[in-house]
């Protein structure tokens, strides 16, 4: 009844090419942003910010990065954790070299280092495809993990081989480090994620997005209509790694406050891949839904017994979480192989014809 596009005629191509051509979608996004930027900081508890929202946002950004590569360009990567690590360690080094530069600027810059490394490990992608490429990215993952521990320069020769986040301020307000308030960090994470996702959406509606999808759908045909496969794939690796790198830097500087090589291990890569696939390959919205589900569910399960007044051992809860998550993954794949984002679309489609479906 309320979700109708009938009557909204576009009179120019510009209007037709808008990110959200339907009025209700625009209103929806505005409301979500309003809630995220205003209502949440005013009401949410520190636990909700620190352990739920900030992680979900950071992981969503990493998932968006992987989605650009796997979902939009069709290149399966298992090196996400490694690329996030590159971002994190690059950001750490940048803060030691340029202690007075704005930390947000440095976080964004660290993405470029990840992009460079990502491009290097994307080089085999011209010759190898599919699962073979996935194994190549696995090489990147293990090699980078090894580097993060074996190159002490990366963590400034810290005895514990870990990087600790120094306190950085902006306008007199602590932004990173233990004294930074959850709200401040949340707002910064939210702004960066919102801006970068907007950029990703822009890329996807323009030429570059189309060339990526063309390569995904049929690389040979794409080549024959003049798309340079190599450049396109490498660009996808670079942009994707940029996003992962920024996510990694945020993970350390705005979420955990500390990291070591093991924070960016193979399990991290798998986790992000789950998010992308559960959320929906080739959907930006899906990256968020996937991250929310995969990160949120264990938290819900962990706290659910308390709310329900049950006393279950925390280890048992954790073990059950594995089972439930696994079953859910299979369940979602069976009911909707295209992920949560497709469910959302189907829901919208239903809404369009509601309440008179015929």
């Amino acid at each position: 009844m309320f979700y109708r596009e009938v009557g909204q005629y576009k009179t120019s191509y510009a209007a037709d090419q808008a990110l959200l051509p339907i009025l209700q979608d625009r209103i929806g996004i505005a409301v979500i942003l309003l809630i995220a930027f205003v209502a949440v900081p005013l009401t949410a508890s520190n636990f909700a910010l620190d352990s739920v929202l900030i992680p979900i946002l950071v992981l969503s950004l990493a998932a968006t990065g992987l989605n650009l590569l796997t979902g939009y360009t069709g290149l399966l990567s298992l090196g996400t954790g490694g690329f996030m690590g590159v971002g994190a360690f690059a950001c750490y080094k940048l803060t030691t070299f340029f202690p007075n530069v704005n930390i947000i600027f440095l976080i964004l810059c660290s993405g470029f280092f990840a992009a460079a490394i990502g491009t290097v490990f994307g080089l085999p992608s011209l010759r190898i495809k599919g699962f073979y490429l996935a194994v190549a990215t696995l090489a990147a993952q293990f090699f980078l993990s090894w580097c993060f521990i074996r190159i002490p320069w990366l963590y400034n020769y810290n005895i514990s081989a870990s990087i600790e986040v120094p306190t950085k301020t902006m306008f007199g307000l602590a932004v990173t480090g233990p004294t930074a308030s959850s709200v401040t960090r949340y707002l910064i994470v939210l702004s960066i994620v919102a801006a970068l996702v907007l950029m990703a959406a822009n890329l996807m509606r323009g030429r570059i997005g189309r060339t990526w999808m063309a390569v995904r759908d049929m690389d040979l045909a794409a080549e024959l209509i003049g798309i340079r496969l190599y450049q396109t794939k490498l660009l996808a690796f670079a942009v994707s790694s940029f996003y992962c790198g920024v996510a990694g830097a945020m993970m350390v500087f705005l979420w955990l406050g500390n990291a070591e090589s093991e924070s960016f291990n193979i399990n991290q890569s798998f986790l992000i891949l789950f998010m992308v696939i559960i959320g929906g390959l080739g959907s930006l919205l899906g990256s968020f839904l996937g991250a929310a589900l995969i990160w949120g569910l264990p938290i819900v399960l962990r706290h659910a017994p308390d709310y329900l007044g049950l006393h279950i051992r925390s280890a048992t809860v954790d073990q059950s979480t594995f089972v439930i998550l696994g079953v859910l993954i299979i369940f979602f794949l069976i009911v909707e192989p295209h992920g949560l984002a497709r469910l959302w679309q189907i829901g919208k489609q239903k809404l369009r014809v509601w309440p008179f479906p015929y």
């Binding site: 909700a48 070591e260 093991e262 280890a315």
Partner: protein
């Protein structure tokens, strides 16, 4: 179709629901002691007995004495899977509920929490793990790591080796010592001290790093050991790395009585899988092994027999179970001190910090609590949050651990300068680091 929405809706609602703060009123009649555990994942072999030991001792105090000073201890486990993100999440979920002390049980999680502790006024007890430098009380008023740092441990290992070679450190000259370690923050920590000693006393060091993914596949590394023929091997291992190393050593034909592990490489599960081949393996320890103590009998009586524990009967008295007990003793004694210091019954994190800072467990006190000779005398002060206690060496006889050395004191004059330097380094790298403004308690109890 409908089901899909239900599930999706439930998931979304759940996430939102979880973000509602766990609004638990500050209980007036109990003290919250969270235990960070890992009963799952690749490190569970070490995590389970420790968690059980801590849990059981504190539960025993509740059951036998009605808590400490008449106040019950509210023991709550949080499963970290030995993952930093999970650990930080656990911390955040307890933060607002005023816990007395946090036991991270992971060097990585400890490192992540150190900067937060002073801000949130929650003391952190990392018992003989974590950041060695945090022993410096002037810089880390909220962090405690008794009874020993890894540098103490390394100096003791070398001292023991020197003794076996017939005397002082000068006997090490020309020897080769191999160091096999978990290639992460934890395993790399003792390296500076090892190198210092090597330089000073003229012995060679061979490094054998085990990257985390290779914990259970070390045969390549042990070929290197066979080639290099080190006279002694020292191990800083954890989790599944330990039993694999002991087995590989046995397979390679390395003499196990020349292979000595840190106190985290000394669980029964580390030596047992090697079967008869594991005989002779050495490890350092600072808590006694065995169940023949009144306090442990009380645990069996008040907790395990009542079915209030996850501990299998045969785990009681094992090394890491007792390690957990020792950790719980430190917590309990610190609570007692804090209660005496402040005169309060129900204390909070800030009081607990004072209790930890004046912690003193003498031989007599060990005896009083029914654990005579169980651990070394522990003496924490305002300046020294560690105590640098003595450690003994135990040997696996094929069935159980046997104490084979006296209590050996660490080489403090070598360790202390390193600690100060490391603390200075840490503080320098993490500017602005808060200056200590917590006053020292000079009252001795």
């Amino acid at each position: 179709m409908r089901l899909k929405y239900l599930v999706l809706g439930a998931a979304v609602a759940g996430v939102i629901g979880a973000s509602v703060p766990a609004s638990e009123a500050l209980a007036k009649d109990s003290m919250l002691v969270p235990l960070f555990t890992y009963r799952t994942g690749p490190f569970a072999n070490s995590g389970i007995p420790i968690a059980n030991g801590m849990h059981d001792y504190l539960s025993m105090l509740n059951a036998r004495d009605g808590g400490i000073g008449g106040v019950k201890i509210n023991v709550q486990e949080c499963e970290t899977q030995y993952k930093n993100e999970k650990g930080v999440e656990c911390y955040d979920s307890f933060k607002s509920r005023h816990p007395l002390v946090i036991n991270p049980y992971s060097t990585g999680i400890t490192l992540a929490l150190i900067p937060k502790a002073s801000v949130d006024q929650i003391p952190i007890l990392s018992m003989a793990y974590g950041l060695s430098a945090s022993a410096v009380g002037a810089d880390f008023p909220w962090i405690f790591n008794p009874p020993d740092t890894y540098w103490d441990g390394m100096s003791i290992a070398l001292k023991y080796i020197a003794q076996k070679e017939g005397g002082g450190f000068d006997k090490l000259k020309g020897k080769t010592i191999g160091f096999i370690y978990f290639d992460g923050g934890y395993g790399r920590e003792p390296i500076p001290l090892l190198n210092d000693f090597a330089k000073e006393y003229g012995f060679n060091v061979k490094m054998y790093p085990v990257p985390p993914p290779q914990m259970q596949s070390q045969s390549g590394l042990w070929l290197g050991v066979r080639r290099d023929r080190p006279d002694w091997m020292i191990m800083w291992g954890w989790g599944a790395m330990n039993p694999t190393a002991v087995q590989e050593a046995a397979k390679t034909g390395y003499p196990l009585d020349h292979f000595i592990g840190v106190w985290w490489s000394g669980s029964e599960d580390d030596a047992r899988p090697a079967g008869a081949g594991g005989k002779g393996y050495l490890s350092m320890n600072f808590n006694a092994v065995g169940a023949n103590y009144p306090a442990i009998k009380d645990i069996e009586k008040y907790v395990i027999a009542k079915g209030n524990s996850q501990t299998p009967k045969d785990m009681v008295g094992e090394n890491f179970y007792n390690r957990g007990i020792m950790n719980a003793v430190v917590i309990a004694e610190a609570i007692r001190h804090a209660q005496k210091l402040t005169g309060k019954k129900v204390i909070d994190g800030a009081d607990m910090r004072r209790g930890l800072e004046t912690l003193k467990i003498s031989e007599q006190r060990w005896k009083q609590i029914g654990l005579a000779g169980f651990g070394p005398p522990i003496h924490v002060t305002c300046a020294d949050h560690n105590g640098h206690g003595s450690v003994y060496v135990q040997q696996w006889d094929g069935k159980k651990w046997v104490k084979v050395s006296d209590w050996i004191a660490p080489v403090k004059d070598k360790v202390m300068p390193l600690l100060d330097e490391a603390a200075k380094d840490y503080v320098g790298k993490n500017q602005p680091w808060p200056k200590r403004d917590e006053p020292c308690d000079d009252k001795t109890l």
